[in-house]
C-alpha cells in the first residue's frame, strides 16, 4: 500500500518545490506573465480562429529574456540576522538583517529574501499525516475542512534593501509570522536583483544558519478559581523554604475555596468587602497538575496543537497566581515539570510546551499512571484532552473518585462534539468543557 503513496509524495515534493522556486524567483508581474503565457498557450492552440498565439510568443520572449538576465549578477554580500530569543505561533515576529555590500559599486533596487530550512517532511512523516487525514476525511468532500500547508512553518515576505554604498552596509527590517510552535530554522539569506523588466530575480545566497524557538499560541484566560485546596507537600523541604506555610506570617491574599476559616483576616475582609486570608510559611501550598494529552498518531495533529495552546494558556495564567503548577505529559518517556513561586518561570514552561511531540507508541494508561503517582501532592487537576473516549472518561472518573477536583477541557474539531454516557454526568457537574477548534478563545473566556 505504501508504494502507492510514493508517486504522490514525489509529486508533492516536486510541485511544492517548483511553486517555492517560482514564487521566489518571479516577481508578481513575472508570475502574471508566466501564468498568462500558459493561458495563451492553451487558448492559442487553434491559430486559425485565434491570434492569442501571438501573445504566447511575446510572453515567452519576456520570460526568455528575463531568465537570461538572471545570469549576470555578480555582486557579493554578507549578512547577519538579528533574531529575538522567542516568537509565538500566529504572532508577527519582527527582526532585522544587516546586509553588507562587499563590492566597490553602490547596490540599489535589491530585495532581501530570508531562507527558511526546507520544511518538506521525509516520506514516513508525510505518509503518517496523509493516512491520518484519509481516516478523518470522507473521500470526495471538497468543502470538508482540511489542514492546508500542514508542514509550512512560517510566512515570510520579501523586503526592500536600502541602497548599499560601496563596502557599506544597511539594515533591513523583516517580519515573519510563525505558523507552528517548535524550533524554526533559518538556512541563509538571499539577496535578489530583478531583471530590467522587473519579472525575474537573480539570486546571491549568503549562508546564515540560525534558529528561533516558537512558543505555542496562547489564548487570554479570565481569572480562574482553580479547583483544589492546599495540601501538605511531603518531602517538599526545598520548596517549603520558599513557599511553604510556617507559623511566620508571610502575606495576605484572596480567599480560595478550601482555605481554613481560621486563616481569614477579618479586618481585611471588613475593609475590602471580600474574604482575605493570611498566608503562612509552611509546607502547605496549592499545587495544580496540568495534564496534557499527547496521545495521537498524527504527527501534525490539529487537536494536539490546540491542546498544547490551551495548556500554554493555563501555564501562563496559573503561574501568575500564587500556586505551583506541574505539567504532566507523556512523550518518549513520562515528563513532569514543576514551575511557580520561584521554582520556574512561565517562559520555561512555554519552552517545554513548544517542544512537546505527539506520542504514538504508548497508551493513555501511561499518562494515567504518571498522574496517579503525583496525585498525593496536587490540589487539583486541569486535564487538556484531545478526545473523550472510555479511557479518558475512566481516568477522570478515577480522579473524581479519589476526591481530586478536576477541570476537564476536551478539544474537538468543528461540528464534531463529544459522545459518551459518562460525559453527560461530568458535563452536568460543570467540570467538562468542550472546546471547538475555531471557537476555543470564546469558550475559554467563559471559564470561571
Amino acid at each position: 500500500m505504501t508504494f502507492l503513496y510514493k508517486p504522490i509524495y514525489w509529486s508533492y515534493r516536486n510541485s511544492s518545490g517548483l511553486w517555492h522556486w517560482a514564487t521566489r524567483r518571479f516577481t508578481l508581474p513575472g508570475l502574471c506573465v508566466a501564468g498568462g503565457w500558459l493561458v495563451a498557450g492553451a487558448v492559442g492552440v487553434d491559430i486559425e480562429n485565434t491570434v492569442t498565439y501571438q501573445s504566447f510568443a511575446l510572453l515567452f520572449a519576456f520570460l526568455v529574456f528575463s531568465f537570461s538576465c538572471s545570469f549576470f549578477f555578480s555582486a557579493k554580500f554578507s549578512a547577519t540576522r538579528l533574531l529575538p530569543r522567542f516568537g509565538t505561533a500566529g504572532q508577527p515576529l519582527p527582526y532585522q538583517v544587516v546586509v553588507k555590500n562587499l563590492t566597490a559599486q553602490t547596490q540599489a533596487g535589491l530585495t532581501l529574501l530570508d531562507d527558511l530550512a526546507d520544511p518538506r517532511p521525509p516520506f514516513d512523516e508525510w505518509l503518517a499525516f496523509q493516512l491520518a487525514e484519509s481516516r478523518r476525511i470522507r473521500p470526495f468532500r471538497v468543502s470538508q475542512r482540511r489542514e492546508r500547508n500542514p508542514f509550512r512553518r512560517a510566512t515570510l515576505k520579501p523586503a526592500e534593501i536600502p541602497p548599499l554604498p560601496a563596502k557599506g552596509e544597511g539594515t533591513v527590517s523583516l517580519e515573519l509570522v510563525p505558523l507552528r510552535r517548535g524550533i524554526l530554522k533559518f538556512a541563509g539569506v538571499t539577496v535578489a536583483r530583478p531583471d530590467p523588466l522587473g519579472l525575474f530575480r537573480s539570486f546571491r545566497k549568503v549562508p546564515a544558519p540560525q534558529t528561533v524557538l516558537i512558543l505555542p499560541k496562547r489564548y487570554p484566560l479570565p481569572p480562574i478559581a482553580l479547583p483544589g485546596q492546599m495540601k501538605y507537600q511531603e518531602g517538599g523541604v526545598a520548596l517549603a523554604a520558599n513557599v511553604g506555610r510556617s507559623e511566620e506570617f508571610v502575606a495576605l491574599r484572596d480567599y480560595r475555596h478550601g482555605d481554613p476559616l481560621r486563616h481569614i483576616h477579618w479586618r481585611s475582609w471588613a475593609k475590602t468587602g471580600k474574604p482575605i486570608v493570611k498566608e503562612f510559611e509552611d509546607e502547605f501550598f496549592v499545587r495544580h497538575a496540568l495534564v496534557l494529552d499527547t496521545f495521537t498518531d498524527e504527527p501534525h495533529s490539529e487537536l494536539l496543537e490546540e491542546a498544547v495552546s490551551v495548556a500554554a494558556s493555563f501555564a501562563c495564567t496559573v503561574l501568575t497566581q500564587e500556586s505551583l503548577l506541574d505539567l504532566l505529559f507523556v512523550g518518549n518517556q513520562s515528563y513532569c515539570f514543576t514551575a511557580g513561586r520561584g521554582l520556574g518561570q512561565a517562559d520555561q514552561m512555554l519552552e517545554i510546551l513548544a517542544s512537546v511531540q505527539n506520542c504514538a507508541d504508548k497508551k493513555f494508561d501511561a499518562l494515567e499512571h504518571l498522574v496517579l503517582r503525583h496525585l498525593s501532592v496536587v490540589s487539583g487537576c486541569i486535564c487538556v484532552l484531545q478526545r473523550w473516549d472510555d479511557a479518558r472518561r475512566k481516568f477522570v472518573d478515577k480522579l473524581k473518585s479519589l476526591g481530586v477536583p478536576v477541570m476537564v477541557l476536551v478539544i474537538v474539531r468543528p461540528g464534531e462534539g463529544i459522545a459518551g454516557a459518562g460525559g453527560t454526568l461530568v458535563k452536568a457537574e460543570g467540570t467538562l468543557h468542550v472546546l471547538e477548534i475555531g471557537k476555543i478563545g470564546e469558550e475559554l473566556s467563559k471559564l470561571k
Binding site: 502574471c32 487553434d46 485565434t50 491570434v51 492569442t52 501571438q54 511575446l58 515567452f60 522587473g198
Partner: protein, 701 residues
C-alpha cells in the same frame, strides 16, 4: 496592485476594436475610467460580491448554452477522432468557446465595476471560489480578510479576449498587445535600471516575440500539410450502397444487438410500412458471398431541396401515407461529415421536415433505390410513400450483369429446387406464390450454422437449398433472388429493417431487426415489389432475450436518443435553455439589487423581536438624564460613547456645577450596564434618586 489610469479604457477599446464591438468597448472603458472623476462609491459587502460573481458566472453558463444551442456547426467529442472532422470539429466546437471567450470582458464587467466603484477597491477571495465560500461558512476564519484587486486579472482577460478572432494574417493584435503590456509593465519596472536599459530590453523582447509568432504561424502551415483523413477510415460502420457482405456460409450463431436504431411515428394510427429499405443490389458473388450494386447503377445524383428548405422530392407525386422516421448516420464521408443511407419505406416519394440548414448537407439517390444523406448524425424526418413506382431503375436485361443473371455454379441446385416445386403456372404472380409457399413449407429459420453441414464442396446457397434448408434471412433472400431469376422474374437483393415492434404510439426498430429480402419486378404495375420468403418466425427467434435485458437496452437507447436529439438540435429543449435561465438570472439580479434594501428594512416581527431583547441595564435611570440633556443643545450623535458625550456636555458653563454628580452617575450607570455583578437594590435606588435630583436641578435652571 491597481492598474494605472486609462489602461483599462485603452484595453477595452482595443478589445472592442479587435472584436468588432468598438462602441461597446469604448463605453465600457469610459464607465471604468469615470471612477477617477466621480468620487462617490458603493459600500458593498462580501456577500454582495458573492452574488455579483454568481450572476456573472450564470451569465457565462447561459451564454455558453445559448451559443452551443444555436451553433450550426454542431461539434462534439466524437468529432475529435474522425479524420477530416478533426479539422472541422475543431472549427465548429471552437465557435462556442471562442464566442464565450471573446465575451468574457463583457460578462465580468459588472464584477470589475463593483470593485472599482466600491469603497474598498478590492474583492473578497471567497467571492470567486465556491469551495472557499463553503469553507468560510464552515467557520474557517483564516479566510476572512483576504482581498484581491482584480484590475490586472481583468486586464489580462481583456487582452486575451481581444485575440479571440479569426487569424487574418495581420499584426494589429501583436502591436496592440505590445503597447498595452508596455503600459502595464512600465509602472511595475525595476527601479534599479534606467529608462534606456528598460527600453532596450523591451525592444529586444518585442523583436524576439515577433519572430516567435512568425515562426509559430509558419510551423502551423507545415503541420497543416499532414493529412489526418486516414483516421476517418478507422471508424464508423455503415451500410454500403455499393456492396453488401453477407454472413452466408459463416459457422456459429449470428447475434445481433437489441439496440434501437430507428424510431417510427406513423401519421395515421396503424399505417406503418413493413420494411424500411436501405439499399438493394443486383450481382451476387458466391466466392465471397457478397452482393454488389454493380457498375454505373451505383452512381449517385443529387437531390435538391424545395424552396421551403425542408422538403426533398424523390418522386413527383403526392402520397397520402406518411411516417416520421428518426435514424442515425453512422458512416463518414470523405470530408469527414456524417454520412449514411436512409432507411425508407418502399415507394417513398418525398422527405419532409428535413431542414437543409441544420440537418442535411447533401442528399443523393442512385438507381438502386438508395438514398444517401450527408449531414448531422441524427436524422428526423417525415417520409411520404405509396404503393406505386419507386426510384429504382427498371430491370436491366441487356447488360451481362443484369437483373436476371444467375451464377453458373448455383444453377443445378436451382433447377433441382424448381423441379421439386413442380411449377406449372406461366404467370409471375403464381410463380411467386409457389416460391413463397415452397419456402414456407420446406424451410425453417435459424441463426445457427453448424460445421457438420459444411462438409461438402457445394456452395453455401446450394447447401441451403438442398441440404440444410435452414438459415437466416440472407440465405432466404439470396436464394429467392436467384430462384426468381432462374424462373425469369427480374429480382434484386434488398437490405434494411423489418418494422414490427410497437413502442407507445410509434414503433422501434432494433439492430437485430436488420433484414434482407427480395425485390421482385412486377411486370403489370412496372414496380419493384417487396417479396420476403423468410419464415415469419424469424422475428420471434431474433427477439429471444430477457425482458430485463431489453428494458435496460431500451433505457440506454432512449437516453442515447435524447442526447443525440440535443446534440444534433432535433429537440426543442436547447432552444429553451436561455428562456429557462432567464428567470434565474432575473431573480439573481433582483436579489443583488434589492436584497440589501430589504435587509435594511426590518420586518415587523424582527422589530418586535429586537424590542423584546432585554440587555443588562436597559432600564437605567441615566437614560432619562441623557434624554433630557440631548433634547437641549447637546444632541448625542449615534455611536458617541456616553463618557465622551458627557465630557462635552460638562464643558457647558451651565453644567459646571453638576460635574461631580454627573460623573458619579455615569460610573453607576456603567456598572449597571457592564459589571457582571450589576448593582444591588440599594445602589439602583441610589442611581434613581441621584438622577431625579440632577433632573430637578436642571429643571430649576
Amino acid at each position: 496592485m491597481k492598474t494605472p489610469p486609462c489602461l483599462l479604457f485603452a484595453t477595452l477599446l482595443f478589445w472592442g476594436w479587435q472584436s468588432g464591438m468598438l462602441l461597446v468597448g469604448a463605453l465600457a472603458g469610459l464607465v471604468l475610467e469615470a471612477a477617477w472623476v466621480f468620487k462617490w462609491r458603493w459600500d458593498l459587502e462580501d456577500v454582495d460580491f458573492n452574488r455579483i460573481w454568481s450572476f456573472c458566472f450564470l451569465v457565462l453558463v447561459a451564454l455558453s448554452g445559448y451559443i452551443f444551442s444555436t451553433n450550426d456547426e454542431g461539434g462534439g467529442l466524437s468529432g475529435m477522432v474522425h479524420g477530416r472532422t478533426v479539422h472541422n470539429a475543431t472549427i465548429s466546437s471552437t465557435v462556442t468557446y471562442t464566442t464565450v471567450m471573446r465575451s468574457l470582458p463583457l460578462i465580468f464587467f459588472p464584477f470589475i465595476v463593483a470593485q472599482i466603484y466600491n469603497v474598498r477597491s478590492s474583492v473578497p477571495l471567497t467571492a470567486v471560489s465556491l469551495v472557499l465560500r463553503w469553507r468560510r461558512r464552515r467557520g474557517e476564519r483564516s479566510l476572512a480578510g483576504h482581498y484581491l484587486d482584480v484590475s490586472y486579472p481583468y486586464f489580462i482577460v481583456c487582452v486575451f479576449a481581444a485575440g479571440i478572432h479569426p487569424n487574418q494574417a495581420t499584426h494589429t493584435y501583436f502591436w496592440g498587445q505590445c503597447v498595452l503590456i508596455l503600459w502595464a509593465l512600465w509602472m511595475l519596472r525595476a527601479r534599479r535600471f534606467g529608462l534606456k536599459h528598460w527600453a532596450i530590453a523591451f525592444a529586444a523582447v518585442v523583436a524576439l516575440g515577433f519572430l516567435g509568432q512568425f515562426g509559430i504561424s509558419q510551423a502551423e502551415r507545415m503541420v497543416q500539410n499532414f493529412n489526418a483523413q486516414w483516421m476517418a477510415r478507422l471508424f464508423g460502420p455503415k451500410t454500403d450502397a455499393a456492396q453488401s457482405v453477407t454472413a452466408i456460409g459463416q459457422i456459429g450463431r449470428l447475434k445481433l444487438s437489441p439496440r434501437i436504431v430507428i424510431r417510427l411515428e406513423p401519421r395515421k394510427v396503424g399505417v406503418v410500412p413493413g420494411y424500411l429499405r436501405e439499399a438493394s443490389y443486383r450481382t451476387y458473388s458466391s466466392r465471397n458471398q457478397t452482393w454488389f450494386a454493380g457498375g454505373s447503377l451505383n452512381d449517385f445524383s443529387s437531390v435538391h431541396q424545395e424552396p421551403d428548405n425542408i422538403t426533398w422530392v424523390l418522386l413527383p407525386r403526392a402520397d397520402a401515407d406518411a411516417v416520421s422516421i428518426a435514424c442515425y448516420l453512422n458512416g463518414r464521408s470523405q470530408d469527414g461529415d456524417h454520412e449514411g443511407v436512409l432507411p425508407l419505406p418502399t415507394g417513398c416519394s418525398r422527405l419532409e421536415n428535413l431542414p437543409a440548414e441544420t440537418s442535411v448537407i447533401a442528399l443523393q439517390t442512385n438507381k438502386m433505390g438508395t438514398v444517401l444523406a450527408t449531414g448531422s448524425g441524427l436524422m428526423i424526418f417525415d417520409a411520404r410513400y405509396g404503393r406505386s413506382a419507386t426510384i429504382d431503375s427498371p430491370p436491366d436485361i441487356t447488360s451481362t450483369n443484369n437483373d436476371l443473371t444467375v451464377i453458373t455454379n448455383e444453377i443445378p441446385a436451382l433447377n433441382q429446387v424448381i423441379a421439386e416445386m413442380n411449377l406449372t403456372a406461366t404467370n409471375d404472380a403464381e410463380n411467386l406464390f409457389a416460391v413463397e409457399r415452397f419456402f414456407a413449407s420446406k424451410f425453417s429459420y435459424s441463426t445457427w450454422q453448424g460445421p457438420a453441414k459444411r462438409a461438402t464442396n457445394a456452395s453455401p446457397v446450394t447447401r441451403f437449398l438442398l441440404n440444410s434448408r435452414s438459415g437466416h434471412c440472407e440465405y432466404f433472400a439470396t436464394a429467392t433472388v436467384l430462384l426468381l431469376r432462374q424462373l425469369g422474374i427480374p429480382a434484386r437483393y434488398a437490405v434494411g429493417y423489418s418494422v414490427h415492434e410497437t413502442s407507445g404510439s410509434g414503433y422501434v426498430v432494433r439492430e437485430r431487426d436488420a433484414h434482407a429480402w427480395c425485390l421482385a419486378w412486377n411486370r403489370a404495375t412496372r414496380t419493384w415489389d417487396d417479396f420476403d420468403t423468410t419464415p415469419g418466425s424469424w422475428m420471434a427467434i431474433e427477439g429471444r432475450q430477457s425482458a430485463f435485458a431489453d428494458w435496460l437496452s431500451d433505457a440506454r437507447s432512449w437516453i442515447g436518443f435524447q442526447i443525440a436529439k440535443l446534440r444534433w438540435r432535433q429537440a426543442h429543449l436547447r432552444q429553451y435553455i436561455l428562456w429557462t435561465l432567464s428567470p434565474v438570472l432575473a431573480v439573481l439580479v433582483y436579489y443583488i439589487i434589492f436584497q440589501r434594501r430589504t435587509k435594511a428594512r426590518p420586518s415587523k416581527s424582527n422589530a418586535a423581536m429586537e424590542a423584546a431583547v432585554i440587555w443588562p441595564g436597559h432600564d437605567s435611570a441615566f437614560y432619562r438624564l441623557e434624554k433630557r440633556l440631548a433634547a437641549g443643545e447637546l444632541p448625542r450623535p449615534p455611536g458617541e460613547p456616553l463618557a465622551d458625550w458627557l465630557e462635552r456636555a460638562l464643558a457647558e458653563p451651565a453644567l459646571a456645577s453638576l460635574r461631580r454628580p454627573l460623573q458619579e452617575l455615569l460610573q453607576l450607570h456603567y456598572r449597571y450596564r457592564f459589571d457582571p455583578n450589576g448593582l444591588n437594590d440599594r445602589e439602583q435606588e441610589i442611581l434613581v434618586q441621584k438622577v431625579d435630583g440632577v433632573l430637578a436641578t436642571l429643571s430649576q435652571k
